[in-house]
Subunit: 139 residues, 2 copies
Amino acid sequence: MEVTKVENQHVKVQEKINDVFDSSHSLSACCPIKDILGRFGDKWSIYAILMLGREEKLRFNELKSMIDGISQRMLTVTLRSLEEDGLVSRKIYPEIPPKVEYRLTELGQGLLLQLLQLADWAKLNLHEILEARKSFAER
Amino acid sequence: MEVTKVENQHVKVQEKINDVFDSSHSLSACCPIKDILGRFGDKWSIYAILMLGREEKLRFNELKSMIDGISQRMLTVTLRSLEEDGLVSRKIYPEIPPKVEYRLTELGQGLLLQLLQLADWAKLNLHEILEARKSFAER
DNA sequence: GTTTTGAGTTACTAAAAGTAACCTAGTATT
DNA sequence: AATACTAGGTTACTTTTAGTAACTCAAAAC
């Protein structure tokens, strides 16, 4: 009974994995996970998304001071690429000194929810991973 | 009524975001998402995890031929880092020519499930993202 | 005695990430 | 009237990381 259950689950997983590759012919080219991960696999995007998830609208220098250690250039680059993918919107007020407001789009909020799920798993398993790292280092 | 529901949801999201930072003092250092993402945010780890999710045990060159375009070195590096974190196990048969079997650990299977969830979201929203990219490029 | 095989290393190069210094143009301070 | 400050960048440069090509090892097969 238990075994059957586990086997069924495994079959489901395999189907899903096949699905991942279905949509693209070439593996290395562009299965959707890769495409999405490209968006927050870098060093800063996650922080920007999380901060914008907290405050719902933020100006450039507010973000800069919330994201410890980020440079102006990297914040610009990060926000541009998030904007490019429709995850963040950018509203310019034609004033001097300039004023620009950033916020998550609905799409961005959806991604945020996914990230938070991942964070849940991460928190649950971080200890085990750290243990594994330690025992690996000892060899 | 609807508004209240949305607001409640937003509050929950904010709590979760705060949780993400709880566990680490410094933002840029090591909140758990970053730590986990570090593991599959690179170019090849996902492919290795997906392939091992399909077949449950694979040898080095089997993996190499399944992951289109990966070099020996990058496969070695990728597998080592996955092993280091306890996501993949490595069984060496002391034969010549050498034989090494890789498989996902339970932890690795857990991560795979998370990845597949992310893939679901990615597939649902890929179209919208591609649209956004296109209209961004037009400016 | 040269070739093949599996699982890697070593030494190098190309690409990406990141930094420091500069720009704009208006306002407030001395 | 000269200086400094503000917000939101850009340009030119350096460091770090990802990636490639060629080599290794030790036995076995041709």
